[in-house]
Symmetry: C2
Subunit: 134 residues, 2 copies
DNA sequence: TGCCTTATTGACATTGATTCTCATAATCAA
DNA sequence: TTGATTATGAGAATCAATGTCAATAAGGCA
């Protein structure tokens, strides 16, 4: 763990969610001048490969990253407005939902001989504001 | 519906899945020379906005598109190898999953005042081959 | 049918996020 | 220290996707 990496990880783990690489880079300049954009990208990819952060692909032209906090309180899925791009983290799973995910993972692992490591579930639609404007 | 649009839609609806814009463009050149790459992109975005094709963001640097065939036999979710990128469409555990998706949609719609239009569910892991090489 | 308005097309240029390159600097185990 | 190894930062390069714009095509109407 080097200083730039710690700075990035520390920032991600305390910041609000779903930041782009450039947003992270800019935010870090204030407290950590001199850090390079390349390092931000490299570190984010590294942390993603290590399973410490999640890389989100939301179709707005840039990847977004969020710290993957452990435990039930951290894990969540996304509700995304296809018009304005707002992202809502929701954690109100049905017990059934967790059970089903586990069961599906098992079945898929067996049938397709995959080693399943993660899942993404997202719902897309229009948020309260964008609903009105169609 | 113009000729280029029909060509793209016809191609997508009969081709194998998950094609990138450039792959679609190249494939069409054979049967439909003269079609422009811009037109391919414009048409894919149009069809995606119309809900006729699905735009997939898989993190390999380019969007992929698949025809969204109606009915239970068409709708599916994805199992993706994070190492080699292979994508498996799975359709089998559908009844339970569909019920749960509907129930979750209702709950989210009410709580967050969203109008939910679609969902993505994907499982990530290592495929049979990539499992061995870690 | 012929005319006119509007939408679409294709070639090309441009943008912009991400990755690459490479010389310098930090890390770490003897 | 010392030398081998890895990480860094500045800038260049890549390349998917979008924008521009003149030329075409579509579609409505007399
Ligand atoms: Zn919105
Ligand atoms: Zn989130
Ligand atoms: Zn694989
Ligand atoms: Zn598919």
């Amino acid at each position: 763990m080097t200083a730039p990496r710690e700075a990035i990880l520390e920032f991600l783990s305390t910041s609000s969610k779903h930041m782009s690489a450039k947003e992270i880079y800019t935010s870090l300049q204030k407290k950590y001048p001199g850090i390079g954009l390349s390092t931000v990208y490299r570190t984010l990819n590294l942390l993603a490969r290590m399973g410490i952060v999640t890389k989100l692909l939301l179709g707005d032209g840039q990847s977004r990253y969020e710290f993957k906090s452990k435990g039930k309180s951290g894990h969540h899925h996304h509700l995304i407005c296809t018009n304005c791009g707002i992202i809502i983290d929701y954690r109100e799973f049905f017990e059934e939902e967790l059970q089903l995910v586990r069961k599906t993972e098992e079945k898929l692992a067996k049938k397709y001989k995959f080693m399943i490591q993660d899942h993404n579930i997202e719902y897309l639609g229009l948020c309260e504001k964008c609903k009105l404007k169609y």
